[in-house]
Each structure stands twice: as C-alpha cells, then as structure tokens.
Subunit: 455 residues, 2 copies
Amino acid sequence: MSIKDANRINLPESEMPKQWYNILADMKERPDPYLNPATNQPAKPEDFFPIFAEELARQEFATEPFIDIPEEIAEIYRMYRPSPLIRARQLEKLLDTPAKIYFKYEGNNTSGSHKLNSAVPQVYYNKKQGIKNLTTETGAGQWGTALAVAANFFGVPLTVFMVKISAEQKPYRKAIMETFNAKVIKSPSTTTHAGTIILEADPTCTGSLGTAISEAVEAAVTTPDTRYVLGSVLNQVLLHQSIIGLEAQKQLELVDEYPDIIIGCAGGGSNLGGLLGPFMRDKIQGKTNPRIIAVEPAACPSLTRGKYAYDFCDQGKITPMAKMYTLGCGFIPSSIHAGGLRYHGMSPILSKLYHDGLLEATSVFQTAVFDAAVTFAKHETILPAPESAHAIRTAIDEALKCKESGEAKTILFGLSGHGNFDLAAYTEYNEKKLTDYAPSDEELEAGFKSLPVIG
Amino acid sequence: MSIKDANRINLPESEMPKQWYNILADMKERPDPYLNPATNQPAKPEDFFPIFAEELARQEFATEPFIDIPEEIAEIYRMYRPSPLIRARQLEKLLDTPAKIYFKYEGNNTSGSHKLNSAVPQVYYNKKQGIKNLTTETGAGQWGTALAVAANFFGVPLTVFMVKISAEQKPYRKAIMETFNAKVIKSPSTTTHAGTIILEADPTCTGSLGTAISEAVEAAVTTPDTRYVLGSVLNQVLLHQSIIGLEAQKQLELVDEYPDIIIGCAGGGSNLGGLLGPFMRDKIQGKTNPRIIAVEPAACPSLTRGKYAYDFCDQGKITPMAKMYTLGCGFIPSSIHAGGLRYHGMSPILSKLYHDGLLEATSVFQTAVFDAAVTFAKHETILPAPESAHAIRTAIDEALKCKESGEAKTILFGLSGHGNFDLAAYTEYNEKKLTDYAPSDEELEAGFKSLPVIG
C-alpha cells in the first residue's frame, strides 16, 4: 500500500514549514494602503502601534516573501500540526465523480479550527513586547476559543467581546473560553463607550462582529499595556495562515498532485487566504493556472454583492480604513443566518485578488450548505463547522460538474474546522427550521450608506 | 529532527494492524463462563444469537490470538486511524518530571472517542447477516454517537436508548446522533416492558445504563430482524478495541520505547481493555512486567469496592450473567457524578486480570479529575472527555512520583476521547459547583442485594 492509496496524507513534523509565506511580496499590484481615519492619509506601521504589537504591525506591511516562524511558535504548532490532508474517497464514491477530492483539515485541535494558527503568533509577539492584556472579539466563537487557548498557553490575560446572539446560541463556546481562563463579555456591552452608544440607540441589539471589534479595540486603546488582536481580514493573519497552504502543497507533492480547483469558505478571508498562498503564487508567476474560489454565504455576500471601497474594519468607525469588498461597516447579517462568516468586509488581499480576476467568488444558501455538511459527515465521518461546509458545498458542485464533463480534476478544499460546537444549528437543520435568506437590494443599499466618504 | 523529537508519532496507514488481538487466547485462566439465566448453565454462542449477530456471538467465545480485520472494516478505520500517539512534552515540562508521558489519542473522529473502533465491526457483522435494525443504549453519549456514525455508514437503522439524565444534560449528544439518522429514546421509556416497570415504580427515575441496556435488549429480542449491540464490557468489544494497543505498541517501537506504566480509565473496560492488549500479553508471557492500572471514579468503584461475583449485565435482569467485579445490577451512581464511567460492573476479562493480580485499580474523585483535565487542556491544548481525564489524573500522579524518586519511567495512558460535548460539566467545574462523592458502605450493601443468587 503506497501513500497514494492512503486517505490521510500526513506530513512528518520535521517537514512542517519553517517560514510563513507572504503573498504581498508576489502580488503584481498590492492592495491600496490602509488609511488613517484622522487624516485620510496612508497609515504607517507606527499608526497601528497603539492597537497592535509592533512586530505584528510591521508584518502588516511586510514585503519579503518568506518570514521565519520563531521556534517558540513552532513548538506550539507542532502540538497539532502538520494538519492532515485527506482524500475524500467515500465522498468521491458517493458522487460517482472522476474528480479527486482532497481536503486540508484544520479541526484537530481543541480550538477546533484553523484560527489557532494566527492566535499563537499574535499572542507570542504581544507577550514578547511585554503586553499585559489582550482583547479581541468573536462571532461564531472559533477565534475566541483559539485565542483563549493561545493566551492561556503564554500566560497573557484575555478579554473576549463575544457577539451577544452567538454567546446565547453557543453557551458551550463561552464555557470553553472560560475553561482556558478567558474573560467573556457579551457585546454590545456597557463596558465601552462604543457599546454603550449602540445599546442606547437599540437596547435589544443582538450584536455584530463590527460592534464587537469596536468594543475590543476601544478596550485595548484605553487600558494600559493592552493590545487588540484580530482573527481575520488582516495581512498578518493571512501570513500566519499561510502554513495551511504550504503544508497542503507539500502533502499534494507527496502524491504527485497539483490542484485544478482550490476552494475555501470566506468570511474575513483568513482560511482561504491561508490555503491559497503557494498556489496563488504559482498562478501569479504564470507557472500554473488553478481556479481559486471563495465561497461566501448568500446572507453576507461581501465579494459577490459588495462594493470595492474604503471602509472601516469596525462598526464604531474607530479602526483604520481598508480598501476592500464590503457591505458597509453598518451592515448586520440577518439572524436567520445560522453560521459564522458574518463580517461586513473581506480581507484587502483577497479583495484585491478578486478585483484583479485572480480569485473567483460564489455565494451559497444555508440549507444547501447544511445539505452538503450532513452528506459529508455521513460519508467522511467528520462533522464540519457550518462555515467550512460552504467550501464543501462548492467542492461537491464542482465534483458533480466533473461527473457531467467526465473530467478527472483535482479539487482541494479547506475544511477549516469541526462542527462539534454547532449542534444547535444542526438541530435547526434536522428539524427543518433553517430557511434561506439573502439581503434585498434595499438592505444592501442601507448598508452602503454606512461607507465613509473619503476626503 | 528525528521522530524521537516529535510530539506526535504517526503510524502510516499501511502499518495499521490487519488483525485484532484476542487476549482470551493468552490468559492462563480464562474468565468464568457466561451463564444462561434461564438454566444457570454456561452459555454457548448460540444462546447469544437472539441478541447478537452470530459472528459477534462467536467472537465472544473465540480462542485464537489474532482475528483478521475484514477489509470493509479496515476501509472505515483508515478514515480516522491509525490514531496518533502523542508525547505530552508540555505536561512533562509543567510537572518537571523525569518521566516520559505518552498518550494514545482516540478523539480525532466525529464520534469523538475510541467507541467507533467497536461500533464499525458490530454494525458490519450485523449488516452482513442481513439484520435490518439495531438497538443500543448510551450513557455519556460516546457509544451512541459512534454507533450512529457506523450504522449510518452501513445504512442500518438504529434506535438508541439514552439514559434520561444524560439526554437532558447533553442535548447536543442527542443532536449529533440524530444528525447521523439515529432514533434517540430517553430511558426509562414506556416503549418497553422493562422501562414501563421501572417508571411505574419511580416515575421520576432519571435512568441508568443498566436500565437502558434492558430496554435496548428487550427492543431487540421483541422486534423482527433486530439485534442489540453493546459498546463495552464484552469480550468482542475488547477484541475490536485491541487496535488501540496494537498501534500504540508499534508507535512506541518507532521511538524505542516500552511503557513501564500503562493507565486507562475504566467504566465497562473497553478503552483500557483495548489499550493493554499487547502489553498484557507480554506480561502474561513473562517477557516484560509493566504496571497496568485501571482508573475508575470514586462514585462508581466496581473494581476497588465491588464484589467478584456473577451478575446480570443489565438492571432488568434479562441478559446472560457474567462473572465480574460488580456493584450489583441495581446500583445507580449518584447524579452528583458528572461524567460517564457509570456502569455497575466491569468487563469479565479485566475483572479476571484484576482478580489474578495482573491489573491494578485505583479510584479518583471528580474534582481531582477535572483539575487534571483542565491542567492537561491548558498545556497540551486538547480538551479531554471527563472519562478520559481519569487516566490523566493518575498519569500525573505517577509522573509526580517519578519526580520525587528521580525515576525516568515511561508512562502510556489512553486519552479515549475529547470533551467537546462535555462543556456543561466543565462549566460546573469552572463555577466550582462540582462536589466529590463516593457511595457509603450502606449504599454499596444495598447495591449488592440486587446480585442474583446462583443455584
């Protein structure tokens, strides 16, 4: 039995990448610069120092293609990495497709998702700088859990602003963060100015990621020795997440494969942005030409229905502005939508790649996503996170197209996390209570009104 | 970097064992035979045919040391096996111990525990025999989940009798079983005679594993083409679970190690019984002499405080009788006890090994178990199942003894599952609501009164 016959393609720990890959180095045109909201002028690393650890602020602007992974970070990575690349043989059989379907599975760690890949370095660089407290926000809870695990590991106290509706829908997410010593505050809260204003306008507000970010940033900049950390969107996050794609590339090489199609779910873009790295590099350099597809929920369609414009990263309009595909920082996805992927914008890097035609995007409805999730679970025996299941939906659709055309394409998708904390949503699905939803044009127009007007 | 420096010792899929190991073949004295309750005479395989698939009934009596794993089963095993053997380097560092601590981690599959190892063959042999429905019971939910995954995979409908208090404490366990198409009934229920009698005596009864077994067995024997499957206790289960120990032995060989101490939690005995196989074989054959330790909860101490006697496997007294350490089939552990490991008896094989001095046993209180669980989670970034954390508790205690004595012992423990579905119990622990409990001598005496009087 050769490794080509295996389901799981394991990479030895000794083969774990020793550097992250920085796609900014290879983009022919880089994303437009962040703007300082006080001046509307391009932001410099120093402008981020009050918010982020200095090394992380510098990584935000880094232009070298490879950046060393410090040993202190690698040591923790090696507790759960390299993550497996898995051939979905049972799913292929079910679909009766000539396509070969591989997925890179990031759910085999306590935080349950890829988010730990960026949580570890973000805490590390803060700790190294002597930062005494960290703040963050979390929506579906994956990032908050990952950061709680990492912060506890390095002994840095952490406060998590958790979107109120998520905290209520997912009490166990809160419990696991607390088990790892994090302090969890439901957002909007009265602990911040930003939260207080939102609650005064609407005391029943169930929160949004944008609001939680505002609160977490405010708590960081108004508390001594405190910094904010963000689990997606940023260049530094895509840098750290590049380990996903770098490993996947090595693993595919072990079985002499190269993907024709690469698929990832996209909320803020951290998972897909990490998965696509080395493949997008090849594509930019003209060595290969894979299709690379971002899958977003129809309920929060920043790439497929948003505007490519400068916007704030938070609802409270206190962060620097980024050029990105966005629904407007005031956009709040309907609570009909059960999963994560609720951010109003999209990573500036992914936005630029999409704008330049290097990245495709598609949106899917949630019942179709849960159909795919349950089909996958039943045949591959992994229960996916609803977010990750967006990628499964599109992978299945592409594999079925291969069945029609008879093409034996190689499909790689990112299975960014498990769904063990999402059983409330699965119960809704099982009980046929999930319905589909996409914002109307009027709802989108209302969101666009929250876009800043630049000087 | 050599594999000796790695955290995870992965075994290639091609090295996955092709046979299970049957410890019955090597025991100098075998457990006393099962008794047919109608005649008090030793049961034969045929006596089990109304309850179990014939091949499984035969495995219950098998005497050959190795039994081939059919390819249809190996194909599913390979979706999640070989499971990783992990060196707990961060825990070692924290404890500042010269001991080397390895754990075999069985939580990396959707069912979340080792239970899938026996669920797959049990469904397979039933399917092969043309059985159309399966019934089982579940307490903490691991077995029910595993069986739901396996039954769905082979397309065999499954009814799970879930201990009522567990179903209420763990709604998401019920949800995941339903996601995999299982029908979940809270036990005791009025769907069976056994359940009805218990409810008539006590309408507020919150259930026990013994009662749920009675209901599941009754449903199997009174429904056409239906069989019962059990996730622990039985010889066939230990046989299937032997893949844990066989893999662990190979993995330890890769790093030139042999365990001085082997530790597993023990409820019915499936996890420890699987882990110890090849090491117990060596010990019986005089080749090595490792200490092998069963860890049970103080709340349900069958080995450490039970009687070695014939008892029914269920509360309703309809199953064959087994000679085992037991608290009496009428014993119901206090609901103060938050985790699983609630079965009144212990696997006849483990009972005999304990009786013959080949196996040690210890019992631990639950707050000490959760202390160990949280310490482990924080340093090894895996949240353990409370059941599995019993083994962690004792592994830590043994590693601390090594620190005192300066001995660099090699400790192997079984981490049988993850705790992602046990956050309600972790919340109780975090909120300091968990208390310790052990039955009084009077409570034990009351349990022993339910023991059958033989001949």
